[in-house]
């Protein structure tokens, strides 16, 4: 090609280019080519283990940087108050090419390591401080609650003992209480205080009771506020308990039980003064800790804010560097010339752009050695590259989902731009619903720029990706809605109807009378609401489906021709295309002609009854040559039908035998000339004749690696025969089944129309008669319900259904007539696409 403009008709012509890049410029060159996004590099070291490649060290470094950047991202996301991340288009770029590049990357590495260390440190200290705070809070609770216990005991005690003791007097009247901690004689009651999980408290009590055989007094209260674990955020509720018992052995037992049950013990003094001292101390320490914690939090947040400013920039740089080094690992180091050798597929049209980019890269890096580019001849199939813009992208994607087109075969995506929305609309035809989806698509297109930058969630993202498809679907649906004369299940009376309804007769039935007018555009509104309206509509829609289907299949079949011409396969034209066309047209093309003919005749002027076309077709196939004179469509029918049937029958052996026969003759001819079967040794060895070496000196490139990934067509005869048999059977049976498959155009449009009608008659119609304020309000509510049901059920659900069926028609019925779909996608090194992949 290489002429003026790229088209969607075929994929672009690709060339395999060899790049000779001096090592100093390599990084910058790859960066430049990555920005351009036009080169798909081949792996020139397929046998090398990824850990042994040349740039493994750099990749490891970028991996570390990626890990650190991801760590920052997760820390920022965990923050409750949102930390803003400055978006990429707003950040100043970090230079990764040119003489200062290496220095910048090193600096970045150091900065990231430093930030990470500090952040981890802050996180750790925050955690430790939180732990400490929790312990102190528990201690405070214990102190407070035990104070309550002691006071209670005190009051009871004074009741019993009627003493005038000081409130600060020890619990038990014992002078040397304050010096000793362990009790000596009888009435000494020691105590143990602490906290325990609320869930465990009853078990704790029971165990203690059993172990100590009831020789204890235990009291516990709830701590009202739960304790929040800073790491996981879980809340635990605890209780304060205090246990009075006497004797060392008992106390030791209590301590052991408490530890085993996971309680935390706190040393509490019996003396009230000492207790209040400890309380004050604990409170003071708590305050200090809280201040420190608060400051740490502030510090951390400011650090995260600073990181947030740069995060997008770092992510971008790190991602690009990784991609660059991975690509450089694909290159081969040529020792002789001391350069890196790269091979890649490039669209031929873009060669000058690539050369400019290479020159630009060398200028930016400051060296004077320009990378050399030359083209290589190869027999491998290039990747398939179709240049799309934002409009055609959606259509190309849905057709690519079936299979990537073989290199330079006719691209069905081009035609799908119109045929897909059209077939959708045939199944969806309603002016109102069409307008709804049209405006929805229009809104999405209006918000295009803004939404393209955002991260849309999966479902909305899918709809947004297909906004142009939906737009066209809406436009065509309005047209087919006009044709079916259906707007929200009502019909429009734009022109003069062709039928008049007189007064109903004695049985209450009014038969319409034709008044000579012909409703020029669409279905006559008289059929809407008629009792036998469905009879007419079904017949009309079914026949329309067959007509549209056969025409669509014929069109798809004709797309074989440009492929055969381009790839110089004249045998295929005579052996495949022509018999297939004849077969299709002689049966189903004839059916379409009969449908149109039968419609064009005024049967009231004919003697014969209008024959059923279905019976006619069946009779043509089952009992050819016998056409009843009363049921004939046109004179001479039996003869013509026999001829057509014979034609179709001839096509089957034609398809089966012609191509294998000619290929067999070709094999004979080749073998006769003394060559062994082709393609038997396409192995690794290359001839190094003098000529070839000399041309290499002059700078003509050679393909470095010839991988035998492709299986060339086996000229094994049996394979050819089997292939052709399968192809023939598939086509012939497919003709019948695919033609019937197009009846889904009728089925879905019927379902759609009926659903729409039911929705109207079940909702709004029932409430139209109501009057007064109450009636108006009810009507308003019902209208809202009707509209939301319209949008969700009729537009979205039915829309998705019709989308699927239209897509199936394209994939199976149309593509099977011409599409090979054995290509592989062109996946260039492109920094823009890296974004999308994330």
């Amino acid at each position: 090609m290489g002429d003026d403009y790229p088209t969607l008709f075929r994929s672009e012509q690709m060339s395999l280019m060899q790049f000779l890049i001096p090592t100093e410029v390599a990084h910058d060159t790859v960066a430049e080519l990555g920005e351009l996004g036009n080169v798909q590099f081949k792996d020139l070291n397929p046998a090398v283990n990824p850990f042994q490649r040349s740039f493994v060290g750099e990749i490891r470094r970028t991996e570390e940087m990626t890990r650190r950047v991801r760590f920052f991202e997760s820390q920022i996301q965990k923050e409750k108050d949102v930390v803003p991340i400055r978006p990429l288009y707003d950040s100043a770029p970090l230079l990764t090419v040119g003489p200062s590049a290496a220095h910048n990357i090193d600096e970045l590495d150091v900065t990231l390591a430093e930030h990470e260390k500090r952040l981890v440190q802050m996180n750790d200290s925050y955690k430790t401080l939180s732990e400490r705070t929790r312990e102190l809070v528990e201690a405070r609770h214990v102190l407070r609650e035990t104070a309550v216990f002691f006071e209670k005991a005190e009051t009871q005690h004074t009741d019993i003992r009627t003493s005038f003791d000081d409130s600060s007097a020890p619990l038990l009247q014992h002078d040397d209480r304050e010096q000793q901690y362990s009790s000596t004689v009888q009435f000494d009651l020691e105590f143990i205080a602490g906290t325990i999980d609320r869930t465990r408290i009853s078990t704790f009590e029971r165990v203690l009771w059993r172990v100590l055989r009831g020789n204890l007094y235990m009291n516990h209260t709830d701590i009202t506020e739960p304790f929040v674990d800073p790491a996981t955020g879980t809340e635990t509720r605890k209780n304060v308990f205090i246990i009075f018992a006497h004797g060392d052995a008992l106390l030791a037992k209590i301590r052991k039980v408490a530890e085993s049950m996971g309680a935390t013990l706190y040393p509490i003094d019996a003396n009230a003064d000492k207790r209040s001292d400890s309380l004050r101390e604990v409170t003071a320490r708590l305050e200090d800790l809280e201040t420190v914690l608060y400051n740490t939090g502030l510090n951390r947040r400011s650090k995260l804010l600073k990181i947030g400013e740069n995060l997008a920039r770092w992510q971008d740089v790190v991602r690009k560097e990784k991609a660059i080094y991975e690509t450089m690992n694909l290159f081969n180091f040529d020792v002789r010339r001391k350069t890196l050798v790269a091979e890649g597929w490039v669209p031929t049209r873009d060669l000058t752009m690539i050369q400019l980019a290479l020159r630009h890269a060398t200028e930016a890096s400051g060296t004077s050695v320009v990378p050399i580019l030359h083209e290589l001849r190869t027999s491998k199939t290039p990747p398939t590259f179709t240049r799309t813009n934002k409009f055609t992208e959606g259509f190309q994607t849905i057709m690519d989902a079936y299979g990537i087109a073989t290199y330079q075969e006719v691209n069905p995506g081009l035609f799908a731009i119109v045929t897909f929305p059209f077939l959708f609309a045939v199944m969806f035809g309603d002016i109102g619903h069409g307008l709804i989806i049209f405006f929805a698509a229009l809104y999405m297109i209006y918000q295009e720029k803004k939404w393209a930058k955002q991260e849309l969630d999966e479902i909305l993202g899918q709809f947004f990706y297909g906004r142009y498809i939906i737009l066209l679907m809406g436009i065509f649906s309005v047209y087919t809605g006009l044709m079916y004369n259906d707007i929200f299940s009502k019909s429009l009376h734009i022109w003069h109807s062709g039928w008049d309804f007189p007064e109903p007769g004695s049985n209450g039935v009014s038969y319409a009378v034709s008044n000579g007018h012909m409703y020029p555009f669409g279905v006559d509104p008289a059929w809407h609401g008629a009792d036998n309206g469905l009879v007419f509509t079904n017949s009309y829609k079914m026949k329309m489906s067959i007509v549209l289907g056969v025409i669509h299949m014929t069109f798809a079949l004709c797309l074989q021709l440009p492929n055969h011409i381009k790839f110089k396969r004249p045998l295929d034209i005579y052996a495949n295309f022509i018999p297939q066309m004849i077969f299709l047209q002689s049966i189903f093309g004839y059916l379409v002609v009969c449908i149109l003919y039968k419609w064009s005749i005024d049967w009231s002027t004919r003697d014969t009854e209008p024959p059923s076309l279905l019976n006619m077709l069946i009779a043509m196939l089952l009992s050819p040559g016998k056409v009843d004179a009363n049921a004939q469509l046109y004179p001479g029918q039996s003869f013509i039908q026999v001829v057509l049937l014979l034609l179709a029958m001839v096509c089957v052996p034609w398809m089966l035998c012609m191509k294998p026969y000619f290929q067999w003759k070709e094999i004979q001819m080749i073998q006769g000339q003394g060559y062994v079967g082709l393609n038997h040794h396409n192995g690794g060895h290359r001839e190094s004749t003098d000529e070839v070496l000399e041309s290499e000196e002059e700078g003509n490139g050679r393909v470095i690696v010839e991988e035998m990934e492709e299986e060339h067509e086996q000229h094994d005869f049996s394979e050819v025969v089997i292939h052709q048999i399968i192809h023939t059977i598939e086509f012939c049976l497919g003709c019948i089944s695919h033609t019937a498959s197009y009846l889904r155009l009728w089925a879905l449009s019927l379902a759609h129309a009926q659903l729409s009608e039911v929705l109207w008659s079940m909702t709004i119609e029932k409430f139209l008669g109501m009057s007064g304020i109450f009636g108006t309000i009810t009507l308003a509510i019902v209208v809202v319900f009707w509209f939301s049901a319209t949008v969700f059920i009729l537009c979205i659900m039915e829309g998705l259904s019709a989308f699927l069926h239209a897509l199936r028609l394209h994939w199976v019925e149309a593509n099977s007539k011409h599409y090979q779909g054995e290509g592989y996608l062109f996946t260039p090194l492109s920094f823009a696409k890296l974004d999308e992949k994330e």
Partner: protein, 73 residues
């Protein structure tokens, strides 16, 4: 009386429009796309109109309505 003439007449017009579409789309990167889209749109819209028109030319059944009690036509 309705006849087939309008079908042929409109066919001629549509073929003319398709030719205009083919000839007058300016050269550019999207020429093929626009041309194909215009021509296919005309063709498919004409087809659907033609089928709808011909189905109603000489209909084999006439519509009838039965009125329910109390409902007017």
């Amino acid at each position: 009386m309705a006849s087939v003439i309008p079908v042929i007449f409109i066919l001629v017009i549509v073929l003319g429009l398709m030719t205009c579409g083919f000839l007058f789309v300016p050269k550019g990167p999207n020429q093929t796309t626009i041309r194909t889209a215009i021509m296919l749109t005309f063709a498919s819209c004409y087809l659907m109109w033609m089928v709808t028109y011909m189905a109603q030319l000489h209909p084999l059944i006439t519509p009838y309505r039965s009125t329910k009690a109390g409902e007017s036509l």
